[in-house]
Subunit: 278 residues, 2 copies
């Protein structure tokens, strides 16, 4: 009857769903596309859900209700998430990466789409249920990981700037305490960038005391936006008391080994616990 075979439909639907993460497609969309009945497509989706689960390819959900349909959410199994983060920890821990001042060179890693995409997926997985409207980050290094988190969540990313720019229109500027808390700096966000009542997920690459993240939280208050979560790729163990609570990180850096010159970096405990490695 229908001229496109199930084989072909399944492949095409997979491609379409996977390239539009967290977006709901109605069955009707696929009916039109393939000239197939809804009952046929429901069976297709049952098959796909099974395949995605079996091979740990992410989550395929059927969403019920008026705006219902089918939705793909990138996700890694807890064990795979842990292993991926652990592998990254080992890559970053090599002595040659430690720079004067105790910084770790991460720019190359933060620019690898495949690595950053997996990190963004792990972060997004943790916040799908919080339903953020956008991902907020501070220029520059946090942008790739924020972008990939936003991609997985199917929402825009919003960039806080260090200065207001002529091409961003009217902006809100606030001051915040950076570094060890002794330096006052300014951050700026375009008035058009976000709207009152929205929900923000803050994502950044690195956190020491949390001054920048604290500034972003304060900025969101100026816009009457709710912060539903804060997640960074790497946080330092010290200071234990950050300038804000409830921060998640994928990696924890616990100082530099004086003898080897290597950084002591490991996956955060919530990841190892989820994978049963604690």
């Amino acid at each position: 009857m229908d001229r496109i075979r199930r084989n072909e439909r399944l492949a095409a639907m997979t491609r379409i769903l996977v390239e539009a993460p967290n977006r709901i497609f109605t069955l009707g969309t696929f009916c039109d596309m393939f000239g197939a009945a809804k009952s046929t497509l429901s069976e297709d989706i049952d098959i796909l859900r099974g395949v995605f689960a079996q091979f740990h390819l992410g989550q395929l959900d059927t969403v019920t209700g008026a705006a219902g349909g089918v939705r793909y959410r990138p996700a890694l199994a807890p064990e795979e998430a842990y292993n991926t983060v652990k592998e990254l920890a080992q890559t970053l821990a090599v002595p040659g990466r430690v720079l004067p001042g105790g910084f770790v060179y991460m720019a190359d890693i933060l620019a690898m789409p495949s690595i950053v995409e997996r990190m963004g997926t792990i972060i997004a997985s943790h916040f799908y249920r919080a339903e953020p409207d956008f991902v907020l980050t501070m220029e520059t290094k946090g942008i790739p990981i924020a972008m990939m988190t936003a991609r997985a969540l199917g929402v825009p990313m919003v960039i806080v700037r260090r200065d207001s720019k002529v091409y961003e229109g009217p902006a809100v500027n606030i001051n915040y305490l950076s570094g060890s808390g002794s330096r006052v700096e300014t951050m700026s966000l375009s008035r058009r960038a976000v709207h009152e009542g929205q929900r923000a997920l803050i994502v950044d690459d690195f956190m020491r005391a949390g001054g920048t993240a604290r500034g972003m939280v304060d900025m969101m208050r100026e816009f009457s936006v709710t912060v539903v979560g804060i997640c960074v790729l790497m946080a330092t163990q010290e200071p234990v008391k950050k300038r804000l609570d409830g921060v998640k990180s994928l990696l924890v850096m616990d100082g530099i080994d004086d003898a080897t010159g290597a950084a002591n970096i490991h996956p955060a405990s919530w990841l190892s616990q989820a994978a049963g490695k604690a």
Copy 2:
């Protein structure tokens, strides 16, 4: 015989290929994964190639030779590329987006993963054959589109900074003429970021005279890197003579309409020609 059905294999392979653009997977990888024979997988890939072509879902290629296998490249049909860029032109042309100084507010668009991903795909499609080793951009606004171009090409992105940063290690700084050519500015790139003999694709969000792009070309010369292409999301019509040749853009801005206050923005002619709209 094999316990995983063709249906399921096709869906799983599609998901794996689509999330790793431009990466070659050997048939052996899939043989191990699904416990199927190479001949069976060859048939699978023939089916997939047909589906991808029929529904314009991107390019699925079989790569022959020692490092051969199968590879997915995101791509839009010329007509779809043109329509996507034209739609963006219309979105950007509304009067409310024009800011004092003739700037167009694009920050929200540059932060929408779904839009930026399609733009990155169009750019990447044009440069697959140039085989860049990385995508180079200048902070900050160009990063999302450079990231998505790099993702489609399956290569890293490299960010040129305005200043050298302690967490990027030793860096090369160069001066360049920005804006109307009267201002000398500095850009900085970490010594570790790229290697002699590599091939760079330069991607940025906006170009007027081309001073920044020219600076990036000069920077690549310092690293003995070949520039294989330069592509921006939007270039202004004026000045017609840019500071460098061979620049591609997706959008062209031809001034502001005094009467309506709207920007005059349209798809570049190479896109309309490819779509037969010229």
